[in-house]
């Protein structure tokens, strides 16, 4: 389907596809097995300016938008969902600074993030605060010109490997959700250490660690926006980044579909290729249709954000929820089409299935996405 991309967006997609094929696909299985952080690939992404696409031009970026980010994430995910999330999670950690940073903060942090010299991460989740983000216990206490951070974040993508972190902590516990604030914390700040690295089912090239704050003293200039804005920062950031997760899911689904089609044409059973069987054809047709429907939703939502539409929570949630559900379904079907081979690690199908699962869980579980969508529906009809 032709999505009427601009010349620049086509250029972005072409470049990302080339990098995905030349530099990501050949090492996808290696990093999946070793769980090492794919620094060599990220270096290529940086040299090719892919970290610059979502940063405004005045801070070293190319001034692209969410759709550009989605195109890159989709192409990378088609080759490896794990490496793609290292990239997309840096965008997630960068968005709060783009959206809420003051001039000094933008000047200080964005150029290095745009060049890929440093990568970013976003930290809100805690052991007892997942979907219920208001339950976070990490505190930030103001003392003179500093804030003192104490607490534990976990499941933080790029944790330990990123240099720049946006951290959500409570500045006033009595106010509940309105007592949370967002801070920029640099790796190496005394009192900021990393806990265990998680072993995961999928997206194993990406790192997921605990962040530990023990009397971690950060300058008050590192407060993003104002005290009490922590959840607004989070919600607005997620509105921007959810299409990115949706694009990751979309790429994983497309990658699995590519594998399934190729295999179905090659695999001979009963004296002919299995793609000549209607049972297989119908599966492939459903998979392709759902992937295309997900793409239409993801791109539309990304375009809407780029054109400046204010309230995108519902559409962003729909895109993330639908694309990730499609990814889970399509990757499972791909394994089915490959049969016994699909279940084996020598073939790429099972990795897509493992990588797909997380997209239904992170950046708001798909149940939370449905809450957002339903709430919006009810609000609209109440008018």
């Amino acid at each position: 389907m032709d999505y009427l991309l601009t010349e620049e967006q086509k250029m972005v997609r072409e470049l990302a596809r080339k990098i995905a094929e030349d530099k990501v696909r050949p090492v996808a299985a290696k990093y999946d097995a070793s769980e090492e952080f794919p620094w060599d690939v990220l270096k290529v992404l940086a040299q090719s300016d892919l970290f610059a696409i979502f940063v405004p031009a005045e801070y070293g970026g190319t001034g692209g938008g969410v759709l550009d980010l989605c195109l890159v994430t989709e192409e990378l995910s088609r080759a490896c969902g794990g490496i793609a999330v290292c990239y997309a999670a840096s965008a997630l950690g960068t968005f709060p600074i783009i959206l809420f940073g003051n001039e000094e903060q933008k000047k200080k942090y964005l150029p290095d993030l745009a060049s890929g010299k440093k990568i970013a991460a976003f930290g809100i989740t805690e052991p007892e605060a997942g979907s219920d983000a208001s339950a976070i216990k990490t505190t930030a206490k103001k003392e003179g010109d500093y804030y003192i951070l104490n607490g534990l974040k976990h499941f933080i993508t790029n944790g330990g490997d990123a240099e720049i972190y946006t951290i959500i902590a409570m500045t006033d516990k009595t106010k509940g959700a309105r007592g949370a604030s967002a801070f920029i914390v640099e790796k190496g700040t005394p009192g900021f250490t990393f806990g265990k690295k998680e072993e995961k089912l999928g997206i194993r090239a990406s790192s997921t660690r605990e962040l530990i704050f023990t009397d971690c003293k950060i300058p008050k200039e590192n407060l993003l926006s104002k005290e009490g804005m922590g959840f607004i920062v989070t919600m607005k950031t997620f509105d921007m980044s959810r299409p990115g997760v949706a694009a990751q899911a979309l790429g994983i689904a497309q990658g699995a579909l590519d594998v399934a089609v190729k295999y179905a044409k090659e695999r001979q059973q009963f004296g002919k290729s299995i793609s000549s069987f209607q049972g297989i054809q119908w599966m492939l047709a459903d998979m392709a249709t759902e992937v295309e429907a997900a793409r239409a939703l993801v791109y539309s939502c990304a375009r809407e954000i780029d054109s400046g539409v204010k309230d995108v929570a519902r559409d962003s949630a729909m895109a993330k929820m639908y694309a990730s559900d499609v990814a889970m379904k399509v990757t499972t079907e791909a394994v089915q089409i490959l049969g016994g081979y699909g279940y084996m690690k020598d073939y790429p199908a099972e990795k897509y299935m493992r990588d797909a699962k997380i997209t239904q869980i992170y950046e708001g579980t798909n149940q939370i996405q449905r809450n957002i969508i339903a709430l919006q529906l009810i609000k609209e009809t109440a008018k």
Partner: protein, 275 residues
């Protein structure tokens, strides 16, 4: 016409590098029209000759390290502009397309003469880099031809360039041999053809692609170059292609079986009949 050779870059190396590239069909199996003896280009994507990618990369690396400028030049039809823009996206600074119907049908003599004419028009340079050969014609003649027309030294099959001597107007290179390599020192300006062992070409960058898209490409025709009509295009090409063909596939060999002495006898008999 005189060339401003600059062996006097004593203070900074600041190399002015010219890279000659060719646009070729993206295929290892070149199809040939048996009637016209020319390449069939229809339906085949055009790319920069893979060997030239190493020349571009090396030029850009030298520039990044020591300063200077990289000018990429190609002779070809108007669509060769795509190859030049790709070279710009990889870090080359300027691009020149040598394009005229009068240059059509050039063999390696006429091509190297024409390119050397364009290089004379550029004027100042320290180094010319070429890929060791083109993947379609495989002649490896145009690079050496250019250096001959310009009357500058050439080293072919270069796998390493050490510019430490550049401030003295020299360059030291390693030249690939079948076994081992030669170390050659040559005065600048010179022409080097490079092999794939020299580096690993980078992928383009987005900013580079955007810059390349907007860049102006200079086109020089015979009008600008005023070359000797006897040496350009088809009539300036001494090479006459009598026939080009795809060699027939080798048929499978014959395997002799039996006792060693019987096989030896059979083999001797077969060889005798062959002669």
């Amino acid at each position: 016409m005189t060339i401003d050779y600059r062996p006097d870059c004593l203070n900074s190396i600041n190399m002015n590098i010219i890279v000659c590239i060719k646009q070729v069909p993206e295929t290892t199996e070149v199809r040939i029209n048996p009637e016209t003896n020319t390449l069939i280009r229809e339906g085949v994507k055009s790319i920069i000759n893979p060997f030239d990618m190493y020349a571009i990369e090396e030029a850009v690396r030298l520039k990044e390290k020591f300063g200077g400028k990289v000018t990429v030049i190609t002779m070809g039809p108007p669509q060769a502009e795509t190859a030049l823009r790709e070279a710009l996206s990889l870090g080359c600074d300027e691009a020149i397309l040598v394009c005229d119907r009068a240059f059509a049908g050039s063999d390696t003599w006429a091509t190297s003469y024409t390119l050397s004419g364009a290089i004379k028009k550029i004027g100042t340079f320290d180094l010319i880099l070429c890929g060791k050969q083109a993947s379609d014609g495989d002649t490896a003649q145009v690079g050496p031809g250019i250096s001959t027309h310009l009357d500058i030294p050439q080293v072919t099959y270069v796998k390493k360039i050490d510019p430490a001597l550049a401030c003295k107007g020299w360059v030291r290179v390693e030249r690939m041999m079948e076994e081992g390599f030669e170390i050659i020192e040559t005065p600048l300006p010179c022409l080097l053809t490079v092999v794939k062992e020299i580096n690993e070409p980078r992928l383009p960058s987005l900013k580079g692609m955007m810059r390349a898209k907007a860049a102006k490409i200079t086109t020089w025709t015979q009008k600008e170059l005023q070359l000797d009509e006897q040496n350009i295009g088809l009539c300036g090409s001494p090479t006459q292609v009598i026939k080009i063909f795809t060699p027939p596939q080798r048929t499978g060999g014959q395997i002799l079986q039996g006792e060693a002495s019987d096989i030896a006898n059979k083999l001797a008999e077969l060889l005798k009949n062959e002669i």
